[in-house]
């Protein structure tokens, strides 16, 4: 067994776990913008729980992809080119979603906000689904030829596993977000999030469990089966804790669920990084897809210093913004008075009120 490729396989699994854990709840909050929030104040409460952190969470995705490129170029090349169209959808979704967070509040108009709310909700859904599908397919198989290229046309990647993974991540993200909101908000939103969580959790983890079990049947080992059991225990625990009103622990238990879930999935897939559904001889594995030991060694040193640092300062961010957000904190929305466009108006009527602004339309 090669040591460095194994270390990097584990590192990439850790990066995906970090991504699903962190961006899991902000993707879920994004979807809840349309599913859960009842009015603009609710939406702003939701947005402000993830406002300072969502961008940092998304970098876990970029790092997972970048690390795959550097450590397993053949894995990166085959996976990303095989899933060309689904990843295009993910990209479009992530673009709209990111821009929507920043631009939503920049014009004080109901129509403007509504459009961006849809961009956030749909963008979060598509991104979660696409990434879930991609991870499911890299652990269950793609139609790759000897060169690692997809055969059979643009949609030949599709399988039931893609749906399982897609819905698995979407549904997990929704309940993870509810647990997060119960922890991070106060007032009505907090209580409603708890109620929703308790009601939804037993159903929401089913597709993810389906994906886990499917991978176990394909390539499971005793210890990865044990992790599936541990994941089930964790989610039952999360359910009980939330019912008991212990929001922090419930969130932690659901976090343990996703850690066990990714560990069981990647653990079962190891050492294959993409099984070929055409011929097992074309499988990409940690040995035939990896970079040289020199490159992996260099990256190991940097990651050993860099990753703990990232975890430290991101934790600090959560500490800085640890206080619960509630409707009472949300300041009134203002259209601002443009210094220039409204000049005529104001000089005619000096006290003309400041709610007049060019962006009410």
């Amino acid at each position: 067994m090669e040591l460095l490729p194994t270390i990097w396989f584990v590192a990439i699994a850790v990066l995906w776990t970090g991504y699903l854990f962190l961006e899991g709840f902000d993707l879920g909050v994004g979807m809840l913008m349309k599913l859960f929030a009842r009015n603009n104040t609710d939406r702003r409460v939701l947005l402000n729980t993830i406002g300072p952190v969502w961008d940092g969470n998304e970098v876990w995705l970029l790092t997972a992809a970048g690390a795959t490129f550097a450590a397993f170029p053949l894995w990166y090349a085959s996976l990303f080119s095989a899933l060309y169209l689904p990843l295009l959808c993910v990209l479009a979704a992530l673009i709209f979603r990111a821009v929507a967070f920043e631009y939503r509040g920049k014009v004080d108009s109901e129509r403007w906000r509504n459009r961006w709310d849809w961009a956030i909700a749909v963008g979060s859904f598509v991104a979660a689904f696409g990434i879930g599908a991609a991870l499911a397919l890299t652990t269950t198989g793609l139609p790759l030829n000897a060169n690692g290229d997809r055969v059979g046309g643009p949609m030949s990647w599709f399988s039931g596993y893609a749906l399982l993974g897609g819905f698995g991540v979407v549904a997990f993200a929704v309940v993870h977000a509810l647990a997060f909101l119960a922890l991070k908000t106060d007032g009505e939103v907090r209580h409603r999030a708890r109620r929703w969580f308790v009601r939804l959790v037993p159903v929401a983890v089913v597709p993810m469990l389906g994906w886990m079990v499917a991978v176990q049947f394909l390539s499971g080992k005793p210890w990865t089966w044990a992790l599936v059991a541990a994941a089930i225990v964790a989610v039952v625990l999360a359910w009980q804790l939330e019912r008991a009103g212990s929001e922090g622990r419930a969130f932690g238990a659901l976090g343990a669920f996703i850690v066990c879930a990714t560990a069981s999935i990647f653990g079962a897939a190891f050492p294959v990084v993409i099984p070929s559904t055409i011929d097992p001889g074309f499988n990409l594995t940690i040995s035939n897809a990896s970079s040289s030991d020199y490159t992996l060694g260099l990256m190991s040193i940097v990651a050993a210093v860099g990753l703990p640092l990232v975890i430290a300062y991101q934790s600090w961010t959560y500490w800085v913004f640890r206080r619960r957000v509630s409707a009472a904190h949300i300041p009134e929305a203002h259209g601002f008075l443009p210094a220039i466009a409204a000049k005529v108006l104001v000089s005619k009527e000096p006290g003309a009120s400041s709610h007049q602004s060019s962006d009410q339309s």
Binding site: V59, L61, F69, F80, F96, Y103, G148, T295, V320, H329
Partner: protein, 532 residues
């Protein structure tokens, strides 16, 4: 168009677009950090206003850079899988390190800066911005290290037909990167400088136009007050200081890009002589710099090109630092390239329909010739305009001419043009290679890759066309949205970024607003100092 051409258009469009947002992010971030530092040290309210206003524009632009940056990282694998397989061992590392060491820093600390006005102590809050800005500089460094390796591969050995990294130090201190990094950073500053200058000019012009500011008998400006929130005397100071900072930054940028560009040019004459000969449309060996060449620059041979105006000696100076050394032209280089790297593409399925075709070693000279001149021209115009602006406004007065104002505003585009032209020249000039051969090292000149072999073999032209159309459409829509928002906030003036200036009365139930320059209050009651 076949898959390769579509993939190239897509890479070109998405990269040039991404690189409109990036230099503004880097340059403006640095400027805002400096301004906030001055505010931190002096406590003068105009610097807080400048921080808030320019910071707001910075964020509107920043998010677009973030959103379009993800496309860049994904499309190597999606559209260029053979390239990714070939270079992954050495090219992937700087990308991964960029994410790990730069993006995380940038996004996390910028989040702290945006939302932390009240939660963090003033010094810590300022430090967060500096850390984010330094993160963006590191990010530029890693990306240019990756790009420079395509321009000038170093630190590798060929193992089983693929380059494998053997010397990370050589890769990360590639001389191509060491001059390209400062060149790019100075270029980014130029964008920020023109941005400040143009917008500040507009506001100063508008204040005079609206009768707020008048010119006194001594020819100096007498700032006034208007009833509109934020258009007070301090507002004048905000814009005049912004104008001067912008002009100085623009001139520093030009000086910096000129010096680093000269070094870069000299390196390129050694590392990619064909690129530089094509930049000059120089067919024959010689010493003269072409001021104007006409003819069919698109031709793959040189017969039709006539240099109409040529300055003797200058080309030699650009390439070698003297006026007499002959610089090789396209015709003599062509023979050398054919001898070293073959006359025809290999008969390999990777090349698709292009297998066995003759290799066109001369880049598209219309692009290289004019790209090179547009880069220098736009950069020079911007710097000259900045110098002129400083002179014209020396008494604190912006002329009432509407045309001058328009010129200042449209001048914002010049450094963007220079940046885009420079990159288009660099990348198109490297063709037909995606990884250019490195001619100055022993044995390593066999490390190269033709662009024709780099595209994903499994991806169809239809898929590529879909993504080209989808991404271009999204980018076009978002460009309109971004520019509209920028214009709205620019016209809104400082109050657009400081609602407390306009809504002092009704927002006090939640906040103690602080236009007094005392900084974030420490009451700790605010969960949201900045709310989405």
């Amino acid at each position: 168009m076949d898959a390769l051409e579509i993939a190239r258009w897509q890479f070109g469009i998405t990269t040039v677009y991404h690189f409109m947002m990036v230099p503004l992010t880097i340059g403006l971030g640095l400027v805002v950090a400096i301004i906030q530092t001055i505010w931190y040290r002096t406590g003068k309210p105009e610097y807080l206003r400048m921080t808030k206003f320019w910071g707001k524009l910075f964020l509107i632009n920043f998010i677009m850079g973030v959103a379009t940056g993800i496309v860049q990282e994904f499309q190597f694998g999606m559209a260029w899988s053979e390239y990714s397989r070939f270079v992954g061992d050495v090219f992937g590392a700087p990308l991964a390190l960029e994410a790990l060491l730069a993006f995380f820093v940038e996004s996390t600390f910028l989040g702290l800066w945006i939302f932390g006005w009240k939660q963090l102590k003033r010094g810590v809050h300022l430090a967060c911005l500096w850390i984010a800005v330094i993160g963006s500089v590191f990010s530029a460094y890693f990306i240019i290290v990756a790009n420079s390796w395509m321009q000038h591969p170093v630190g590798v050995e060929m193992v089983d037909g693929r380059p494998v990294m053997t010397d990370a130090w050589a890769v990360f201190t590639n001389n191509t990167a060491l001059v390209a990094v400062p060149h790019t950073l100075f270029g980014a500053l130029g964008v920020a400088g023109a941005f400040l200058l143009g917008i500040a000019w507009y506001h100063l012009w508008r204040r005079r136009h609206d009768g707020i500011d008048v010119v006194g008998k001594d020819g100096r400006l007498v700032p006034g007050e208007a009833a509109i929130p934020g258009r007070d005397k301090a507002d004048y100071t905000v814009w005049m200081k912004s104008l001067r900072i912008g002009a100085v930054v623009a001139m520093i940028s030009f000086a910096g890009t000129a010096v680093t560009g000269d070094l870069q040019g000299k390196l390129m004459f050694e590392q990619q002589p064909m690129k530089m000969a094509a930049a000059e449309a120089a067919c024959h060996d010689g010493t003269g710099f072409s001021v104007l060449s006409v003819g069919n620059l698109g031709a793959t041979n040189c017969d039709d090109i006539v240099a109409v105006i040529e300055v003797p000696g200058i080309l030699s100076f650009l390439a070698k630092g003297d006026f007499t050394t002959e610089v090789k032209g396209v015709n003599s280089l062509l023979g050398e390239y054919k001898e070293k790297y073959g006359t025809h593409l290999p008969d390999n399925p990777l090349y698709g329909e292009r297998a066995g075709q003759e290799i066109q070693y001369v880049p598209v000279m219309e692009v290289t010739y004019w790209g090179f001149r547009m880069m220098i021209g736009f950069g020079g115009i911007a710097a000259f305009a900045a110098l002129l602006a400083l002179w014209v406004t020396r008494k604190g007065v912006v002329p009432q001419s509407k045309w001058l104002m328009r010129l200042a505003v449209f001048g914002i585009l010049a450094p963007f043009g220079a940046n885009a032209a420079g990159w288009i020249f660099t990348e198109m000039g490297r063709q037909p290679f995606v990884v250019a051969p490195n001619p100055d090292m022993n044995g390593i000149d066999q490390v190269f890759m033709f662009t024709a072999a780099a595209v994903s073999p499994g991806v169809s032209a239809g898929e590529l066309m879909t993504s080209l159309v989808v991404l271009t459409a999204i980018y076009a829509v978002l460009l309109v949205v971004e520019v509209k928002l920028l214009v709205k906030y620019i016209r809104g003036g400082v109050a657009s970024a400081m609602p407390e200036l306009a809504h002092a009365k009704d927002s006090n139930n939640h906040h103690d607003k602080n236009d007094d320059g005392n900084g974030p209050d420490k009451s700790g009651d605010d969960v949201l100092a900045f709310a989405y």
